[in-house]
Amino acid sequence: MNRSDDHLLALALQGDGACFGELAERWQRRIFSFVCRHVGNVEEAQDLTQDTFAKAYQNLDRLTDPARFSSWLYKIALNECRMRFRRGRNITHISLEKEDESEGIDIADATTPERHLADKEKSLLLKEAFQALPEEQRSVILMKEYQNLKFHEISEIMNVPLSTVKSRMYLGLKTLRRLMEKKL
């Protein structure tokens, strides 16, 4: 049976750990992709994603409005990214792509190996450009561009006015474009 997020959340709020596990399975892909782009490191992103869900589960009783579950989850994830940034852990700049180049090529994929390498290079350039952005601008663009959140949702997650979200987005995109033009 495919239960809705609301249903699973209601059961999780009553202490059903398995339901929270199912909910986490649904959301961890999105949270991971956000965290991964934010910190620019796969392994660290995996840890931070785990930490995000662990914190969410521990603090589930503090979720006052279940309709805002996703915003609340992103808020925790963003906080985890920021805390990691403050802790200033040593970041071993592992590429977001798989270590072994040959492993990444799907035989069934119609694209050529050259094309694949070009794509990987672009991803690497984007990752570097994002890491060069101020954290606030990076967070806004990641949530908007890759998580498809509405501006008002980002405003709620980041706890800043809507106008601030838009100006961060505007400046961030302009900076990214300039950085990418330099690199490409």
């Binding site: 202490g15 991964c36 785990q50 009783d61 890759y146 501006f151 474009r177």
Partner: protein, 195 residues
């Protein structure tokens, strides 16, 4: 729409945020006539295309089937929901409900659909008002009657004076006539005696 207004909306349009159709129309109308804003709009679209080329791979952990729930976060049980965070919203709802109920009861009492002090007080007040009105009316009536009696007395006195005058006049007239008659009779008797 000017360039500043157009730039405020540019991200909403590029990201397909909800927008009033009139505003959207004005936005594109401005783009048709403004190469600067039009250039910036195209630039944002191109930037978005570039951004979409960034793909991150899924973490190996995600390949685990949904049935295997040995996730680390499940080892920590959440606190039960009996702290401030859980009963406070309930208390707020109960308080709001109580206030609404009080309001409804007051409205019904006001319009007399429910028995209550307010209605009795109103009736009592109404009786008092009627009594006051009667007292005032009585006072006015008494005053009026008094005035009428005075007038009547004056009239009667005036009338009596006139009547008395008439009687007097009549009496004077009768006496005059009696005297006249007596004088005439005497004259007549005298004539007869002389004959």
């Amino acid at each position: 729409m000017n360039c500043d207004e157009n730039r405020e909306l540019i991200l909403d349009v590029v990201y397909g945020e909800e927008m009033n159709s009139r505003t959207c129309f004005d936005f594109f109308k401005h783009l048709d006539s403004c190469p600067d804003c039009s250039g910036e709009y195209k630039e944002f679209l191109t930037t978005r295309e570039t951004l979409q080329e960034w793909e991150v791979e899924e973490p190996p952990d995600l390949q685990v089937p949904a049935g295997r729930l040995s996730k680390p976060w499940l080892q920590k049980q959440p606190r039960r929901r009996f702290e401030l965070g859980s009963w406070w919203p309930t208390l707020q709802k109960v308080a709001a409900g109580f206030l609404i109920l009080m309001g409804v009861v007051s409205i019904f009492q006001h319009y007399g659909y429910l028995g209550g002090r307010k209605v009795l007080v109103s009736e009592q007040r109404l009786t008092e008002m009627m009594q006051d009105l009667i007292v005032v009316n009585q006072k006015d009536e008494r005053k009026l009657i008094g005035q009428m009696l005075v007038h009547l007395k004056e009239d009667v006195e005036f009338q009596r004076k006139e009547d008395m005058q008439d009687i007097y006049n009549n009496l004077v007239s009768l006496q005059q006539r009696y005297n006249d008659n007596l004088e005439e009779s005497n004259r007549y008797l005298k004539v007869l005696l002389e004959r």
